[in-house]
Amino acid sequence: MIIDRLTRSYIHDEQRIEVLKDFSLTVEVDSIVALVGPSGCGKTTLLRLISALEQKESGTITYQGEEREGSVSYLFQEPRLLPWFTLVQNISIPLKSHFQLKQERLEKALEFLSLVDLYEFRNAYPHQLSGGMRQRAAIARSFAYPSHTMLLDEPFQSLDADLRWSLVKEFSRLYDDHRRTTLFVTHDIQEALLLADTVVQLSKRPMNIIGSTEIKIPREQRSLRDPSLLSLIAPSYTYP
């Protein structure tokens, strides 16, 4: 995915605030790029432009050479499940636009629910589950959906520490079997180190790239106790 000179601004109190100005970034196919930067710098705006939730002012986003509004999976900060439907329905309903047969949708939904260990809760409603389980269901939904791009907007942020690491691990395991081009917005450098192939550090508004680090250690071997992993991010980098 090539993001080329993307620009987006907002009008606030009659003042023009430039969030993105000629922002460019290349994400290799089927790799995870983590975007780390101060809050409010425009990371979420970038994801919203890619997912077409917002319109860009100028610039292009191309996927393997062509500019198209691709199918995108989005993991939000909150699970955003439909409260009136069971987990299996929550995962199979978005599949309607891609699979004609109900049987096919159900099988796919159940397959991914099993992958996140929620098979036995397939007929439970979201409010009957814990926050961590709901986010796991959202992860299952984003992988079950046949997209070529995956956008993660701090999806582990609202969970407590233990749960967070177990979910990061779960995501990483699932990702290795179902790869796709992924942008991972976070302000937690440790999450980025565990998941990303490339960690991109960003400046304040208007957002710019101030550093980029490639991580060669295979995902399944990474640990936060490993000094060689932690040393990858320059000690000078302090996250505000």
Binding site: S51, A52, L53, S71, V72, S73, Y74, F76, E78, R80, L82, P83, W84, F85, I93, P94, K96, S97, Y125, P126, H127, Q128, R141, Y145
Partner: protein, 263 residues
């Protein structure tokens, strides 16, 4: 926790019963002291009139006619307000277009609408028309508000995952606004009974609860007027209870619980 809720309920029921008894007592004392049954019959006399009214041959026809008129009006309101409320919630321009109708029907006195309708229509149609005009804004506004309350986060989710128009309606909009539709239906129906009966009183069609009330009043049968009033109250109470039961069923069923708690 459960015990204390039950305790509260018992206390509430006791307070309501006590207040009702007190009202009847005051009524009784006043009518005894006044001693003019044409102006204020005793509760016992009214009760006797109520029994004889209910036992009378054409009671069911009168009440049935009123109920049918109310339901006819209700059905129209339910369908039209739901569709227009949905449209207006989604496309504000529809709301602006309807604003004059809503303002006029909210601000015009019920009696003015009934009198005008009586000039235009027959006495059978007036109650249905007037009730429609009075209760339409209530239901419409509730549904429109329901659409505005649909979670923006879920709408975004449905956009990202490319829900079709139909899917968005079926899986997101309709379940979100169902509690609002039921609440709106409940308040509009209790208003409908009042307006239908008022229109019947003013236009005196051959059948109907309000028409009986009017003829009893002309004949100075005060106990009769009061017993028809009690029947009108019971009618409203029955429809309120029915809707409360539906609402409770929905809020108890797990699929709606969270939404209901959210709002």
């Amino acid at each position: 926790m459960k015990l204390s809720t039950q305790n509260k309920r018992t206390k509430a029921a006791a307070a309501v019963s006590l207040s009702l008894l007190l009202l009847i007592l005051i009524w009784h004392v006043m009518s005894i002291r006044m001693n003019i049954p044409i102006i204020l019959p005793t509760p016992a006399e009214t009760g006797a009139a109520l029994v004889s009214t209910i036992m009378s041959q054409d009671f069911l026809i009168h009440v049935g006619t009123t109920v049918l008129r109310g339901l006819e009006s209700f059905l129209l309101i339910f369908l039209i307000s739901t569709v227009l409320g949905l449209l207006s919630g989604m496309f504000p321009i529809v709301g602006f277009f309807l604003t004059p109708v809503l303002v006029i029907s909210k601000a015009t006195p019920v009696m003015a609408i009934i009198l005008l309708a009586f000039i235009w229509f027959t006495s059978n149609t007036v109650p249905i028309f007037s009730a429609f005009l009075m209760a339409f804004p209530v239901m419409f506004t509730t549904v429109e508000n329901g659409v505005h309350q649909v979670s923006k986060e879920l709408v975004e989710m449905s956009k990202v995952y490319r829900f079709s128009r139909y899917s968005r309606l079926r899986y997101l909009l309709v379940p979100s606004i169902t509690p609002y539709i039921i609440t709106g239906a409940k308040s509009s129906l209790s208003l409908i009974w009042k307006v239908v009966i008022a229109a019947e009183v003013l236009t005196s069609p051959s059948l109907g609860l309000g028409a009986r009330m009017h003829s009893a009043q002309i004949n100075l049968e005060t106990a009769q007027v009061m017993s028809w009033t009690v029947i009108a109250i019971i009618l409203t109470a029955i429809s309120d209870i029915l809707f409360s039961l539906i609402l409770r069923f929905i809020t108890i069923s797990p699929s709606h619980k969270e939404v209901w708690n959210d709002h």
